[in-house]
């Protein structure tokens, strides 16, 4: 547990907490970006460089932007006046606390976890590419299909419906 790890972990966690608790949604989105960036740093720390950069590309570059667009389109950019928390929020907090407790206890008391730290693997993009084209070619194709379907689906769902004219000539 080196120091950089701790610092990056702390930043990520703090940003995540902030993303979940800030009042203004745009602030939440920004904290969200920081959290993703922190995670990417963690991936780099763990010698998963490709994943780290893929994380920045996809999450920060696409998903976070998507969220900002959604905030924009749902007119939630202003600070809301009413309460931010859903009714019965205390149960949610309780449940998540219990979940964390369970997971943490499992992690700390598990005897199945390996003790030694193996050496850092030499992973190159070439290796990943090779694997994608040979062993994981089917998931790759399916992912392609999935992404296409998701894109089309999202477009259709979010499409503004063509305005209908009712009998009196008014546009709906």
């Amino acid at each position: 547990m080196s120091l950089p790890f701790i610092i990056i972990a702390f930043v990520t966690l703090f940003a995540a907490a902030a993303a979940m608790s800030l009042r203004n949604l745009v602030h939440c989105a920004l904290a969200f970006v920081v959290a993703f960036a922190g995670l990417a740093a963690l991936y780099l720390q763990l010698d998963a460089q490709f994943v780290g950069f893929a994380q920045i590309l996809v999450y920060v570059g696409a998903i976070a932007i998507l969220i900002v667009f959604a905030i924009l389109l749902t007119r939630s950019g202003d600070t809301p006046n009413e309460a931010v928390l859903a009714p019965g929020w205390i149960y949610g907090i309780a449940v998540s606390a219990v979940v964390f407790t369970m997971l943490g206890w499992a992690v700390l008391n598990s005897s199945a976890l390996p003790k030694q730290t193996p050496p850092a693997p030499a992973t190159t993009v070439k290796n990943i590419g090779d694997l994608l084209m040979t062993k994981y070619v089917l998931p790759l194709e399916i992912i392609g299909l999935l992404l296409t379907a998701a894109m089309i689906g999202a477009v259709i769902i979010a499409l503004k419906e063509p305005s209908k004219t009712d009998y009196s000539g008014r546009k709906t």
């Binding site: 990520t12 995670l39 994380q55 998507l66 859903a86 449940v95 998540s96 390996p114 693997p121 999935l146």
Partner: protein, 103 residues
Amino acid sequence: MTPLQGCLLVSALLFAIGFAGAVTRRHAILALVGIELMLNAANLNFIAFWRYGAHPEALTGVMFVIFSIAIAAAEAAVGLALIIAIYRHKKTSNLDEVKELKG
């Protein structure tokens, strides 16, 4: 505490935070954000196990996480499209008011 355990704890905490947010906040987009956080926590878990587990040269963890990120992207897109569509219908992005399935 091994580094692995540390990573796992971080991932668990991240998961809990994401869960708490998804379940607690009123706004629909924030629920989605919480879900993204949970997914990311799981990805972290995978990478941690890949780095500190057996056979890191098989790149299994990395592969999984790559696909997971792709799927998360697709899911975020569709989910946000849904939220926009619901906003158009009900003029609200408040999760409490989308109670069509009540009963």
